[in-house]
Structure formats: structure tokens, C-alpha cells
Amino acid sequence: MIHPIERKVLSENDRVAAGVRSRLEIVGTLTLNFIGSPGAGKTAFLERTLQLLPSGTSAAVLTGDIQTENDAIRLARHGFPVQQITTGGACHLDARMVESHLWEWRFKEFDYLFIENVGNLVCPTSYDLGEDGKVVVLSVAEGEDKPMKYPGIFRKAELMILNKVDLLPYVPFQPELACEYARTINPDIHIIQCSSLTGEGFGDWMAWLERRRIAKRHFSPNHEEAHLQTTFV
């Protein structure tokens, strides 16, 4: 007897993620899930982002690794609340890990919640964390063809950060080709080229972030003042 099921394999994760998403929706926190290989510069990128946030901005970071608190220590130097999620072996974060760490902050309102996923271009792709969007971080020393080799994450990300452009004089890497490959997989992907070392390209990124935050607040039930703000922009 064949019994049709038609359920997502990760339906339990999706259920928890939906709960996280609706809580974050209520407080209007723009939540981004950063995915990239180990060493792509996710932590460096977030460190510079925290440094550049306008004063008065509230932000929090969850950073995932298999072992160590190193990234949390690096990120916490910038004066924002940070929690390390050590997965103890798992190659990705799941919605339950995010939910339990957000409870530590009582689902407090932040302008931004940045989630640095475990370094990996494959596994984190399947797990919804309740984020507003996925950001894939690719660095120039990794080769232009990564979007073709790991299409899943490039398909699901709304933004690609091409990091370490300061190294372009030293590595044979054609940024245009990498962008072309990414757009072959995902014609809608937005791409920002930057260097977390020199700060190049961060103007575009910070502007993108601010636009996304205002849009998010606009649709959040708790933020009348955001409605006024956007009306006059």
C-alpha cells in the first residue's frame, strides 16, 4: 500500500523557524543569515559592519562554529551583544539553536540581527533560521566558479558579498566572471564587491542594509514612527 505524504523533510525545523520569524516580525528586527566557506571573511565582514553602524543603532550577532568562542570574542569587541553557538560537530545552524539563543535575549527588539552560519557552502542552505534573507559571502581567493559548483546557496541568497577585493592584484580571479556565474544561477541576486580589510565597497553595503531596515520597519506592526520616516524619504 503506497501512502502519499508530501511533507517537507525538514518540516520540524521549518515550524520552529516560522515561530522565530513571527517573533522577529513583531519587533521589526531585520535578520540576515550569512553563509560562506570557512575563511571567506564572514566574521571580518560583520566586524567592519558593526564598526560602521550609525550611533544609536541596535544590533546583535549570533555566530555559529563547530568549536571555540573565537568569533564571538572578535565580534564582542565592537560593543554589541554577541552569542556564540557552538554546534559541537553539526555543519550548520538550525532554527532551534537560533530560537534558544534568542530567548537568552528575551526576543528583545534590535534593528539588526546578524547570524553568522557555520563555515560551509552546502549544509546551511537547507535550514531556514527564520531570517529575512540569506547573504552568501564569497572571497576572491576561492575561485570564480563557486556559484556553479555550489548552486544551492547562490540560488537562495538575495545578496552576494564578494569579499577580499583588495587581493585582486595578487590572485588570478575575474570578478565579472564570478558575478556572471552567480547571475546564471540566480538572475535576481544583488552583488556587492568589498574588502573587509580596507573598507572598500562598504558604502554600498551599509546603504543596502539601511534600505532593508526601513522597508522592514515599514511593515512591522510596532513601528508607527517608521511609517512616518519612510513617507518623507
Binding site: I5, R7, V9, A90, T125, G152, K156
Partner: protein, 86 residues
């Protein structure tokens, strides 16, 4: 790498179905994996078989169907009526 976790989720779903259908034994479960799902079919098959072997769910087969997008769905389950087995 995360195929072990995926296999685990499939086995949980099968277990849930077994409880919903008393008097039946699941013998085969089918999953649909899209090419952008980030899950490798062969690796999943390996993990699944390793987890089932020697467990109370054995024998249980995994059938993998390829799909186009980012699907990662359990499609169907084959159930045998217990009387029919004995």
C-alpha cells in the same frame, strides 16, 4: 555532511506515520531531492542505510527521486499490513 541529520528527520517522519497507522509496517520511503536542495542523494542513501541497519525500523528502504528546484520533500511511504507479512 548533514545527510545524517536529514536521514534522521526522514526516520522520525516514518516513525510518526507508523504510529498513525497501527497494524502497518513501513517498508519503503520516498524522498524528492531538488538539484539546489544542497543534499547529496548517494550520501543520504548511505547514512540512511547505516542508521536503519540493526534498528527496530529495519528493513526499510529509501527511494530517492531527483527533482528540479530546491525541493526536499518526503513524497510517499510504502506500508505493508502486518497480517500480510506474517
Amino acid at each position: 555532511m548533514h545527510e545524517m541529520g536529514i536521514a534522521c528527520s526522514i526516520l522520525e517522519a516514518v516513525e510518526r506515520e507508523r504510529i498513525i497507522h497501527p497494524g502497518c509496517r513501513p517498508t519503503k520511503v520516498a524522498v524528492r531531492i531538488g538539484r539546489f536542495a544542497g543534499v547529496d542523494g548517494d550520501s543520504l542513501q548511505f547514512c540512511f542505510d547505516a542508521m536503519v541497519a540493526g534498528s527496530s525500523q529495519a528493513p526499510l528502504e529509501l527511494h530517492v527521486e531527483a527533482a528540479e528546484n530546491d525541493e526536499l520533500d518526503i513524497a510517499w511511504l510504502e506500508l505493508d499490513e502486518l497480517e500480510a507479512i506474517q
